[in-house]
């Protein structure tokens, strides 16, 4: 009884248990769901969401939100093939350039929120719209194929049978968890998220932390964009769109407060897996795309009611 109670008090754990239950039930009832290859595929898809949601988690913990992550993914996926220099056989220069651009976009978001006092929801939404327009002008709406070897390796290689995207996600998780729980800056984000005024009067710089956080969010969205590009081998306008809502949903499913000040990336990780699993289950059901969207939306709401309920105070 006590064990059950403590699970309900711990949203990340609750989400993990939920994922395990869904996998167990689906594995026993649906042929092929429990196969190693299928579960590996699910994790590979979850890795993209998890990496985007890493930045989103940080921003949300500080009481903000980043609505430009989808656009940043698209920008990275389209620009990377165009800016990778031919003289670089490894492809790493192209990746570095793309990440720098993504981080720069995030930094601009932060600067707008910190210096111009534009509410983050407006700032990042305007940035997303701006970027989408820019892409149509630059890339002309056609798909670009990637030949950058490092990106293809990232999207396709499976060292020891584990997709490299999942390995990248592990590294990102370790870094983000350390940032939140082992470094002073994480405690500052949380303090700002819970009470910006008290945090400021306690000597925590809002400007500095806002800039850092949105830059990080841009960086992680860029990283996810490169991974998506590697997995698809093609970048096109709209490739990042599905990841905006899912990144926010993964954070909230993991029990973090959408208002900031409370939560952890440890919840976002199972949150991302849960989202992907749900999508996969809906695909199995033979329904038209319209009905699938309706079911997906309903399921997200239902899941939020289960895992978000206990965290509310």
């Amino acid at each position: 009884m006590n064990a059950v109670k403590s699970i309900f008090r711990n949203p990340p754990l609750l989400t993990f248990v939920l994922v395990a239950l869904v996998w167990l039930v689906a594995g026993l009832t649906l042929p092929g769901f429990g196969a190693y290859g299928h579960l590996r595929y699910l994790l590979e898809l979850a890795a993209v969401i998890g990496i985007v949601a890493a930045g989103q988690t940080l921003v949300i913990l500080m009481g903000g939100i980043d609505l430009s992550v989808g656009a940043v993914i698209t920008v990275t996926a389209i620009l990377l093939p165009l800016i990778s220099p031919i003289w670089d056989p490894t492809g790493l220069v192209g990746i570095a350039l793309a990440l720098a651009i993504a981080t720069g976009i995030g930094f601009l978001n932060g600067a707008g929120a910190a210096y111009l006092r534009v509410p983050p929801i407006i700032m990042t939404l305007a940035m997303a719209t701006f970027l989408q327009g820019l892409l149509v002008v630059v890339a002309g709406g056609s798909a670009v194929t990637v030949s950058n070897p490092a990106v293809i390796l990232l999207g396709q290689a499976r060292p020891f049978g584990v997709p490299s995207g999942v390995l990248l996600w592990l590294v990102v998780s370790a870094v983000v968890l350390a940032l939140i729980h082992r470094m002073p800056i994480g405690a500052r984000f949380l303090a700002i998220g819970a009470n910006p005024l008290a945090a400021r009067l306690s000597g925590v710089s809002l400007t500095r932390n806002t800039l850092i956080l949105y830059a990080l969010s841009g960086f992680f969205a860029g990283l996810a964009g490169i991974l998506v590009l590697g997995m698809n081998r093609q970048g096109y306008v709209g490739i990042g769109d599905p990841y905006l809502l899912t990144s926010i949903a993964a954070v909230v499913l993991g029990g973090s407060s959408i208002l900031g000040g409370r939560g952890t990336y440890a919840g976002t990780i199972p949150g991302a897996i849960l989202l992907v699993t749900t999508t996969a289950l809906i695909t199995v059901v033979n329904a038209s795309p319209g009905w699938r969207s309706i079911m997906f939306g309903t399921l997200i709401l239902a899941l939020l009611l289960i895992s978000g309920r206990e965290a509310r105070r």
Partner: protein, 502 residues
């Protein structure tokens, strides 16, 4: 006068939260035409009792009786219908609505289903005259100073013509003048036969206004008696259950050291073009009516709001701190008056709050040193006698203990200048004493303590020097023997300029 039956009473009420008993069998009876004082340290259960009496909470056992008849399920609506009004300690006004709308909220006079503003303004004008609110009635509450908002809150309670009026620390943000008006209102209501319950940490007010007292301690009633023949010390004895000695620590021989803060032509917010200075080892008080620029002076020195000065020297360096970070680096720290919104991160743990300003200093190679943090937190909790588990959210603490956390978090920085904004507002008397002792100790260690306060006795008995602000300018600067309640209040009101030291 009190032989009538009580209008409102609680009989043997018990109430607990999450298994912690807060009230353990409390009786209280409010009689018409009597001002009843409710005393007790923070955490004694006063707020819970008020919530039971006003229907905001249900007792676990025991009964609430109106006019001698027990009521089954007492709700806020039932309490209002029974003529019970409460002036809460936390202001419950809607900032964007006008004074009249706030006062009438929930009890608007209607005409054809619409609000009858003419009728509303007539009724509101009436109660505003009673409490001395002369502002235009359609002025948004957001434009009022804290003290005036409190008067609106009181007018709002009066508007409902209550038979029972409960006042929870009504004077904590009022100036002496406003508190005087409130005292007269209370006397008028009493003579009209209203039953009043008065909660305050200011014992002189209790003595002046109240005729009966109930004292709560740890959820039980330790005294329920007439106040006649009991002096201030007697009241304190009733509250703490023992002799307390003097509330204020003895003043050390004034021995000011080096100049820590010296500004001339200083302006910030409401403060306009003033000179101000403070030396190491001094306690400098800042007095005045509520909202005369006291807070802006502190915030300006702290770099938290834009400020400029013709000449400035802070901690030996020229110029004002540009932001909070550089103020902290220069050894300045600030404890805000509104600890719930400005001082503390309420949902976070006591430990997180205590460690927040020291995070960067304790980190090693960019990572937090948990061992060092735990040791520092334990040391701070011990030094300030903050009891219990430091992993609890800080909002679970009583007001006095919250204030201790808001102060304690700065100690690891070894500040040379402490800027304190009303540090004892809503703090129980025992904690007040602890804080006064601590501030004296800071001064003796050679720190400069600058304290803005709405509590005049505090300025008189604690401070070595008092600067009185009026409309953003220095109305008087008092030192040593010249500091007296009369001199401070006089200067604050701008009536008497004699007796002020040059």
């Amino acid at each position: 006068m009190t032989d009538q039956k009580p209008l409102l009473e609680a009989r043997q009420v018990f109430k607990g939260f999450f298994g912690n008993p807060v009230l353990k069998g409390v009786d209280i009876a409010l009689h018409p035409g009597r001002v009843h004082a409710l005393l007790g340290e923070n955490g004694a259960g006063k707020s819970t009792l008020i919530n039971l009496l006003s229907g905001a909470l249900q007792p676990d056992s025991g009964t609430i009786a109106v006019d001698g008849k027990p009521v089954g399920r007492f709700s806020p609506a039932a309490a209002r219908a029974a003529g019970i009004a409460v002036v809460q300690q936390e202001l419950s006004l809607t900032a964007d609505l006008s004074i009249a709308e706030n006062i009438g909220l929930g009890a608007f006079p209607r005409r054809f289903g619409l609000i009858d503003y003419a009728e509303l303004h007539r009724g509101v004008r009436n109660v505003c005259d009673m409490v001395g609110l002369t502002e235009p009635l359609d002025m948004p509450v957001a434009d009022l100073a804290l003290g005036r908002r409190q008067m609106v809150e009181i007018a709002k309670a009066l508007f409902r013509r209550p038979r029972v009026l409960i006042l929870d620390e009504p004077t904590s943000s009022l100036s002496a003048h406003e508190a005087g008006i409130l005292a007269r209102v209370i006397e008028t209501l009493r003579d009209r036969g209203t039953a009043l319950l008065y909660i305050s940490h200011r014992l002189n007010e209790v003595q002046a206004l109240c005729s009966h007292v109930t004292v709560l301690k740890d959820g039980g009633v330790t005294a329920d008696q007439s106040l006649s023949g009991i002096d201030g010390e007697g009241l304190v004895r009733l509250m703490v259950g023992r002799e307390t000695g003097d509330l204020f620590p003895p003043r050390a021989a004034a021995n000011p050291g080096a100049l820590r803060i010296n500004v001339e032509g200083f302006s910030a917010g409401l403060v306009r073009d003033i000179g101000f200075s403070g030396r190491a080892g001094e306690i400098v008080g800042i007095g005045g009516l509520v909202g005369q620029g006291q807070e802006d002076l502190l915030l300006g020195l702290y770099g938290a709001i834009p400020a400029r000065a013709a000449k400035a020297e802070v901690s030996g360096k020229p110029g004002l701190p540009a932001h909070v970070g550089s103020a902290n680096a220069a050894g300045l720290v600030y404890v805000p008056a509104d600890r719930k919104h400005e001082g503390l991160v309420l949902p976070h743990s006591i430990a997180s709050n205590l460690i927040l300003p020291s995070l960067g200093r304790l980190a090693r190679n960019g990572f937090r040193d948990r061992g060092a943090e735990t040791r520092l937190i334990a040391e701070l909790a011990k030094r300030l006698t903050i009891k219990g588990d430091v992993a609890r959210p800080v909002q679970a603490l009583s007001g006095g203990n919250q204030q201790k956390v808001a102060l304690a978090k700065w100690l690891p920085l070894d500040p040379s200048v402490l800027l304190l904004n009303d540090p004892t507002r809503g703090v129980d008397i025992e904690t007040k004493r602890e804080i006064y002792l601590m501030l004296r100790g800071f001064a003796a260690e050679g720190r400069l303590v600058i304290i803005a306060s709405s509590d005049t006795p505090e300025l008189v008995h604690l401070c070595d020097r008092v600067v009185v602000l009026r409309e953003g300018r220095v109305a008087a600067e008092l030192a040593g023997e010249a500091i007296s309640e009369e001199a401070i209040v006089g200067a604050a009101m701008g009536v008497d300029r004699k007796g002020t030291a040059a």
